[in-house]
């Protein structure tokens, strides 16, 4: 069992029934993320990697198995403000300014945004959006919106940070920039991070361990340790050792 503020999934299974079809989204998933670690989940579309995250967030309930977030059930952990989340596609409220979007988790947790004005401001500055506090999402670029989502995920100072393809919609250059920034931010907060991604290089650059999943049924096939020192610098992306790890993951992904 992990330290109390990590993530633990034990024997988790989930089956969806919809449109006359039965889909086994997850079968017997065991995953332990120690406190302060960075774990990436990678796998083809439909392998259930987003479902793992949705179950850990309490958005779905597992049919079998047990989930613990910092020693609590997902819902209790969420209510206690332990978790932070950034979804694919930002999911900002279009009628709220950048600042008011970052404040949403505080409002859900019944904290007074006014008391945390400084923290909100520092998060906006952390993701490099100083000067855009009053802009509406429609006035921002895709990358800026995604950074708002990151700031929003961090504003509660979460012990456990979930990210579901947070940079999925960004181009490669911006994506690498954001990866470097995310590493910096994560190091500063010291939280336990779980990242769901499609990008092998993104996973290897950011994570301590990469979890590879296969589909039908969704399951974990291998967990690969990433040995590189931190802080990792952009030149790592062109390091042969880096590519070796990436190639290995690609093999596991495509192999049976």
């Amino acid at each position: 069992m992990s330290a109390p503020d990590g993530i633990t999934l034990a024997g988790v299974g989930k089956t969806f029934t919809g449109r006359g079809k039965v889909v086994e989204a997850l079968r017997d998933v065991h995953l332990t993320c120690p406190a302060g670690s960075f774990t990436a989940i990678i796998g083809p579309s439909g392998c259930g990697k987003s479902t793992v995250m949705r179950i850990a967030l309490g958005l779905e309930t597992a049919d079998t198995g047990e989930v613990r977030i910092a020693g609590d059930t997902p819902l209790a952990a969420a209510r206690a403000g332990v978790t932070g989340v950034a979804f694919q596609d930002a999911a900002l409220l279009p009628w709220r300014s950048v600042r008011r979007n970052v404040e949403v988790p505080l409002e859900v947790l019944r904290q007074q945004p006014a008391e945390h004005a400084e923290r909100v401001q520092s998060m906006i500055e952390l993701v490099g959006l100083k000067g855009f506090e009053n802009a509406l999402p429609g006035e921002l670029s895709g990358g800026m919106r995604q950074r708002v989502a990151i700031a929003r995920a961090l504003v509660t100072h979460p012990q456990v940070l979930f990210m579901d393809e947070p940079f999925g919609a960004l181009d490669q250059i911006l994506r690498r920039q954001m990866n470097v920034e995310l590493q910096r931010i994560w190091t500063e907060t010291g939280s336990t991070a779980l990242l769901v991604t499609h990008g092998i290089d993104e996973a290897v650059f950011l994570a301590d361990r990469v979890v590879v999943m296969h589909a039908n049924p969704g399951r974990i096939v291998e967990v690969i340790d990433v040995p590189f020192e931190r802080p990792r610098q952009p030149p790592l992306f062109s390091d042969p050792a880096f590519h070796k790890v990436c190639d290995h993951i690609a093999e596991v992904l495509h192999g049976g």
Binding site: F16, D89, A90, V108
Partner: protein, 431 residues
């Protein structure tokens, strides 16, 4: 500016129409003077100007109170229905009944069972309730699932989702509903005034002037009623546009809806269906009991069944009803189809040739917000009591709400969703 030019064109169209009206009216071309010239109507309005304030005030009072009451109940019920599918299913019968109740048929009943301003307020509220309730439910259930997930991921309850995401997201849809509801309230109030008693109110004024054979005064009343209804529509249309821009999602939500909601246990479903069917009758019965009106005037559900099937006069009653139905139904379908087609075409054109539609809008608005009660005596003068009249009324009743709903739906499509087809060379028709 294109918008300004189209507004000019709209005004121009209106002016052309007015001149045409004036010429036709002055020459008494329609039904031997049933349509007076526009200036003749204005002159008559000026002569009658002393009469209007009290009538307008009475109508405004009843329709405003009814509008507020109907919206309060409508939005409240909409929120309850959006939160609980059980409540929605249980009240389906009541909602359909309220929607289907022709105001013109229950106006006399309300006038007989209630007193004072009450029938007017109730009828105005009834005209508002269904529109507002439906748009609230639709607006709330259209919420972006990505944003609701985010709130729920922080342990947010249904109420948090409602407060932070759904309500603001539903605002343009609710406001679009209110702009149909507002003229409905005016219509309801006038109808109740027309249907019974009372000294003040535009409907009462209309009723009092009907027998005197003065089309210019009838048209004057119609114009004033149209002006009130049109203003209320315009005010909410303005509000709705104002809120729409900031509500549209920047990107299209690609998340797959999580299948159909759990239909529940068959027994529970059956109980809900029976409850939903029974509830309107229970409320009907309760209304009769609570108001304590004699059976002669307002029949309870059992009374109606008795009248139609068991009483000695049942056979004649049935025959009369069937004959009336045979008269009404075909016209209804033709009118409905024509109204819907017209609304659909116009809604599409508003995207394809926005300027032409904008130019046409003022004219459409005037004809459509004209309360039908005020219009009906005049239409009877012009068209006679035949099928043409029924057809005209059916079309105009169908057209307006359908058009507003369609246009609103098209306007809500996120910007980026329209970009993709355009990139592939599609013109406005195909995006």
């Amino acid at each position: 500016m294109a918008a300004e030019r189209s507004r000019h064109r709209g005004l121009l169209n209106l002016a052309v129409l007015l001149v045409l009206w004036e010429v036709v009216g002055r020459l008494d071309l329609v039904a031997g003077g049933a349509l007076p010239g526009f200036t003749e109507i204005l002159a008559r309005l000026w002569v009658d100007r002393g009469d209007y304030p009290s009538h307008i005030w009475a109508t405004l009072y009843a329709s405003t109170v009814g509008f507020l009451l109907g919206n309060l109940i409508g939005i409240g019920a909409g929120v309850v229905f959006a939160l609980s599918t059980t409540a929605l299913r249980l009240f389906r019968g009541v909602n359909v009944a309220i929607f289907a109740l022709p105001p013109i048929a229950i106006a006399p009943i309300l006038v007989l069972t209630l007193s004072g301003m009450a029938p007017r307020i109730v009828l105005a509220a009834l005209g508002v309730y269904f529109v507002t309730m439906t748009s609230t439910v639709i607006g709330l259930s259209q919420a972006d699932s990505r944003a609701t997930d985010m709130v729920r991921a922080y342990g947010g309850t249904k109420r948090d989702v409602l407060r932070l995401v759904q309500f603001r997201g539903a605002l343009p849809t609710i406001l679009a509903g209110l702009r149909i509801a507002a003229p409905n309230a005016v219509l309801g109030a006038i109808l109740a005034e027309f249907g019974g008693g009372g000294r003040w109110g535009l409907g009462a004024y209309l009723l009092g002037s009907l027998g005197r054979g003065e089309p210019d005064r009838l048209w004057g009343i119609g114009l004033v009623a149209t002006l009130i209804a049109g203003t209320s529509y315009g005010a909410f249309a303005l509000l709705s546009t104002r809120f729409l821009g900031a509500t549209r999602a920047v990107t299209l939500n690609t998340a797959v809806p999580t299948g159909r909601p759990d239909p529940g246990h068959p027994l529970k479903r059956a109980a809900l269906a029976i409850g939903s069917l029974a509830l309107p009758f229970v409320l009907w019965w309760a209304f009769i009991r609570l108001t304590g009106v004699p059976d002669m005037i307002a029949k309870s559900p059992l009374g109606v069944v008795d009248y139609l099937f068991f009483a000695p006069t049942a056979e004649t009653a049935q025959a009369k009803l069937l004959a009336a139905l045979a008269q009404t139904l075909p016209i209804t379908f033709v009118g409905m189809a024509a109204g819907l087609t017209f609304a659909f075409l116009l809604a599409i054109s508003s995207k394809l040739i926005p300027r032409a539609v904008e130019a046409f809008m003022p004219v459409a608005l005037v004809t459509q917000t004209m309360p039908l009660v005020a219009l009906t005596p005049l239409l009877i003068l012009i068209l006679g009591r035949g099928n043409a009249l029924t057809l005209w009324v059916t079309i105009s009743v169908t057209f307006f709400p359908a058009f507003v709903t369609l246009a609103q739906g098209i306007a809500l499509v996120p910007r980026t969703a329209g970009d993709l087809p355009r990139v592939y060379g599609a013109d406005r028709t195909r995006s």
